[in-house]
């Protein structure tokens, strides 16, 4: 069966989504177990696949039995092996954690919600696993369409935000499609590896350059790279908890993966970094993205929205790291895809718990939370510390590689931006902690003899356990950074990139 892992990763969730949609009409209680089972199989397959890749190198899976470039093929190498594992694990944990909040927020539409949820995961996994440029577009649209639906389920400004996201997302996806069309018209092929083989003769072509730019802009829109970020904060803030904790960790990260795939596989580092002399400006752009993300986060008074601006800064980290044009920076970017997905999941799950209990994420809602929800806040602290970049959590180590890359590339602006953002994250998170910790002030300052603390009111166990698992993973991944880099990422980057 392990030969079929690449197909199973995508097919099992797809089939399950269909079954869930049927189950939604028959008996709603079946939806959740099927979801979890499907995602568990996907996670199992993707981890199994990652280990196979570690043993055997690149795995090619021909769909329909057709040889590429005639048919569509999956190429699983170290890069997408890693991302697949992360995506499927994040999706699984979030599915378990958000059971209660889904039941709380839309009891009638559990079936459709889980269907879209699993379809979205299918789309994201498909984007990562595929080796065909056009197939990627189709899956991109699946992930996007389901995402619009999931986001719009949030009340208030949810639909409007989702509609804005839809406009931007469609432009982004269409740009990508157009870029693929340009590549197709110049090479006649749609297979990524095949295109990469044909392109070197065409490196001087204006059309190829345009294809590159259009594809890049397309994925930048999709990943909310500053200044194309405007859709993201509202969309993620007004989404229901279960959606935002799936979408926030994964969508931007998967798009970063697509960008790196474009740089490394389709266009090759030689073209991306040497022939097109755009590395420097793009890194400067990402410096601006980081600064703006950090500054915009500072002015927010809503926890969830604040976190969305941090995501924008984090996107800047990864884009900048990938475009530093050296091996260390690229390592940092790839590592940060995994790390950022996990730590974003951690903080968003924590916020989900808070919203579940407190019914809001405005700063005023957070008062006294350390007393009320100590376990949730404990995990939130670990997530926050990882976002700040404190060892031994994983966020520190990707930052380490990114800064190292910046130093090696002599790009000190990027280094300063990363440090600045870390410091701003300290301010951001400790501002939240202060509210949770000090407020409401009791009448007896100092020695609270007569303090009657609010009773503890924690989220249910099903929400806490996944949260703790994620928090533990953050530390474990941090400690195993060396192994991840040496055994996985080292092989994910072509030898030519030094």
């Amino acid at each position: 069966m392990s030969l079929q892992y690449p197909a199973l990763i995508v097919v099992v969730p797809l089939l399950s989504a269909l079954v869930i949609s049927i189950a939604g009409w028959v008996n709603k209680r079946w939806c959740f177990p099927i979801t979890v089972a499907a995602l568990a199989v996907a996670a199992y397959s993707s981890v199994g696949l990652l280990f196979r890749v570690l043993d055997e190198g690149v795995i090619v899976y021909k769909l329909g039995g057709w040889d590429p470039p005639m048919g569509i093929a999956y190429y699983v190498d170290h890069l997408n092996g890693l991302v697949l594992a992360v995506v499927s694990i994040v999706a699984l944990l979030n599915a378990i954690a958000s059971k209660k909040s889904i039941e709380q927020e839309f009891p009638e539409k559990i079936g459709p919600f889980y269907t879209l949820y699993v379809l979205m995961v299918t789309g994201l996994l498909g984007i990562v696993v595929t080796g065909d440029a056009f197939n990627l577009y189709v899956l991109l649209e699946i992930a996007a369409l389901t995402g619009y639906g999931l986001i719009a389920m949030g009340g208030g400004r949810g639909p409007l935000s989702a509609l804005n996201y839809l406009y931007m997302g469609t432009i982004g996806a269409c740009f990508y499609l157009l870029g693929v069309g340009y590549l197709y018209i110049m090479t006649g092929s749609l297979n990524m590896v095949d295109i990469a083989g044909i392109l070197p003769d065409l490196y001087q072509s204006k059309a190829v350059m345009a294809a590159f730019i259009i594809c890049m802009v397309g994925v930048w829109i999709k990943m909310a790279f500053f200044p194309l970020h405007a859709w993201l904060p509202n969309a993620y803030t007004h989404a229901p908890s279960a959606s935002s904790s799936l979408i926030a960790p994964l969508v931007t990260k998967v798009m970063i993966y697509v960008m790196i795939r474009l740089i490394l596989t389709i266009f090759t580092p030689e073209f991306s970094f040497n022939i097109l002399a755009v590395s420097k400006p793009i890194v400067w752009l990402s410096v601006i993205a980081i600064f703006m993300g950090a500054i915009l986060a500072l002015k927010e008074r809503n926890l969830k929205k604040m976190l969305t601006y941090i995501i924008i800064a984090e996107v800047g980290y990864m884009v900048g790291g990938a475009w530093l044009g050296n091996r260390v920076g690229m390592t940092g970017a790839i590592l940060h895809i995994a790390n950022d997905a996990l730590m974003t999941l951690c903080v968003f799950l924590a916020v989900g718990n808070i919203v579940y209990k407190v019914k809001g994420a405005e700063f005023e809602d957070l008062q006294g939370l350390f007393r009320k929800m100590p376990f949730t806040m404990g995990a939130f602290i670990i997530g926050a510390i990882s976002m700040i970049g404190v060892p031994p959590t994983c966020g520190f180590f990707s930052k380490w590689y990114l800064i190292s890359g910046a130093i090696q590339a002599g790009h000190y602006g990027f280094m300063v931006a990363l440090l600045f953002s870390s410091l701003v994250n300290v301010v951001l998170f400790f501002r939240v902690f202060e509210i949770c910790f000090y407020e409401p002030f009791s009448d007896h300052h100092g020695h609270g003899h007569d303090r009657h603390p609010e009773p503890m009111d924690e989220a249910p166990v099903t929400m806490l356990v996944p949260l703790f698992i994620v928090a533990a993973i953050l530390v474990l991944v941090g400690l195993y950074t060396g192994d991840i880099v040496n055994h996985i990422i080292e092989f994910a980057i072509p030898k030519g990139l030094v």
């Binding site: 970049g389 190292s404 130093i407 440090l419 410091l423 300290v426 400790f430 100092g446 400690l479």
Partner: protein, 488 residues
């Protein structure tokens, strides 16, 4: 040099980390405190069990994980680390006892949280002591910063909030903003961060950037409270007294000084510093801090604040001693970690005991207190002697070596600084003692009845005061460790 691979250093760090869930979940305070003691004693025993090997000149090494090429999360127990770990872990036992007395006497809230984070802070302290490289040290340094935040802000009032902000701004701001980049630049220049006698820059060409790096690393470890990055320490005095005692006289601030020592001896190495004349630069910064802090201390009326400024000055002794780069000076600096710890913790305990018994915080309100709390004030006197550096207390030895060090290094200005600041120390401590005991009955603010703080408060301070005296007669352990640490 013999190298032993053993999991003991990791255990020493973990023992207090692992009991935190037990502490957090225990319902009965007595059970909770019992576990604290178990952990504290276990920690000391584990550390003590490594002493013989270290005294033989061996190093105990344990690698947890290889995280970045060339750098691992790794423990290495050497003489200097052992010295520091011994001091901080043994004082934890005493402080735990004192905490019980202090916290219960004042009916403080959130005692469970207090003990949990105290245990965490101790893990981090020992972690710093046993770090084998700059990355591991940074890890535990940061862990200590975050673990102590809830302790500093224990009262959860607006004042605590302000102090907490200042604390974070100075401690975390510098570590992320200054130490992290400096560390990464070092790493990218040399490919390693491992501490060694020659320093990690051994074999590389000296460059101007190294001066910048040195300054970044020395000042960046703001826990050492070298001016101008010192003002978090007086602010942190809003914490409950046991926190100030152990953390802001021993663990946290010594972690800072210890980190600076590691940077000077392990990262740059004595040879490089001598060649580049960088030691002198650090010396002058430290000397400035010593004198200024002592002068400021004179003006403080709050007892804890005076102690805090005294600590700032004393910390720079440590840095100064090592930056002299002469063997005697370095021995002096290193032993000062231990000697000052015993002296200063006694003083803080006394301050706390006074607060528990009388509710007084200011020196001007303590006239005649010796008649009411004689035991406490005698201990205070002993502690003062130790900090001033007079026999029969351990503080004498470290200061003696420091003075010898200045002579050895031929640094007359530093000699003057040391002597001058000793006078200042005497000037800001002895009057307190004098007024406590020798005042006319009209001046006395207290009744003549003896009314000490609870036994849990008094016993620890007696122990540490006696410890200070014992160290005068038996300083060999720490002296030997310090001698080993400088390689001879």
């Amino acid at each position: 040099m013999e190298t032993i691979i053993s999991i003991k250093p990791l255990l020493a760090v973990l023992v207090s980390l692992l009991i935190t869930p037990i502490l957090a979940s225990s319902r009965a305070p007595n059970v909770r405190e019992a576990w604290t003691f178990v952990a504290a004693v276990a920690k000391v025993l584990i550390i003590a069990s490594m002493v013989p090997a270290v005294l033989k000149g061996a190093e105990i090494v344990y690698t947890v994980a290889q995280v970045v090429p060339g750098v691992a999360i790794k423990f290495r127990v050497d003489a200097l680390g052992m010295l520091f770990a011994l001091v901080s872990s043994s004082l934890w036992i005493v402080t735990s006892a004192y905490s019980i007395g202090y916290m219960r006497a004042l009916k403080e809230h959130s005692q469970t949280r207090y003990f949990v984070f105290f245990a965490l802070a101790l893990s981090a302290t020992v972690g710093v002591a046993f770090s084998a490289n700059l990355l591991t040290l940074y890890l535990f340094y940061e862990m200590l910063s975050f673990a102590t935040y809830p302790l500093v802000t224990h009262h959860q009032d607006p004042e605590a909030r302000r102090s907490g902000r200042k604390y974070l701004l100075y401690i975390v701001g510098t570590s992320i903003g200054i130490v992290l980049p400096a560390m990464l630049i070092c790493y990218n220049m040399t490919g390693t961060l491992e501490f060694s006698m020659q320093g990690i820059f051994a074999g590389t060409e000296p460059k101007a950037t190294m001066v910048v790096l040195l300054l970044m690393l020395v000042l960046g470890f703001a826990k050492a409270a070298i001016m101008p990055l010192h003002s978090w320490l007086p602010a942190a005095m809003v914490a409950p007294t046991p926190v100030s005692a152990l953390l802001h006289a021993v663990a946290v601030v010594k972690v800072g000084a210890f980190s600076v020592l590691r940077v000077l001896t392990g990262v740059f190495g004595i040879n490089l510093l001598t060649n580049l004349h960088l030691g002198t630069v650090v010396c002058y910064i430290a000397a400035f801090t010593v004198i200024t802090a002592s002068l400021i201390a004179l003006t403080q009326d709050g007892l804890k604040r005076r102690l805090a400024f005294s600590t700032i000055g004393q910390l720079s002794y440590i840095v100064l001693g090592v930056a002299l780069l002469s063997p005697k000076g370095m021995i002096g600096g290193m032993t000062h970690i231990a000697m000052h710890a015993f002296g200063k913790i006694t003083l803080f305990f006394c301050a706390g005991a006074i607060f528990v018994a009388t509710g007084k915080k200011n020196i001007s309100e303590m006239v005649g207190i010796g008649k009411r709390m004689p035991v406490t004030m005698i201990a205070f006197f002993i502690g003062s002697l130790s900090v001033i550096g007079l026999p029969p207390t351990g503080g004498f030895f470290s200061k003696w070596y420091l003075v010898l060090g200045t002579l050895q290094a031929d640094q007359m200005p530093m000699l003057l600084v040391l002597l001058g600041s000793s006078l200042l120390n005497a000037a800001y401590f002895l009057p307190v003692v004098y007024k406590a005991f020798f005042c006319t009955s009209e001046e006395s603010m207290f009744q003549n009845t003896i009314q000490e703080a609870p036994i849990w408060c008094v016993a620890p301070l007696v122990v540490t005061a006696v410890g200070s005296i014992v160290l005068f007669f038996y300083p060999t352990l720490f002296l030997n460790l310090a001698k080993l640490a400088i390689g001879g």
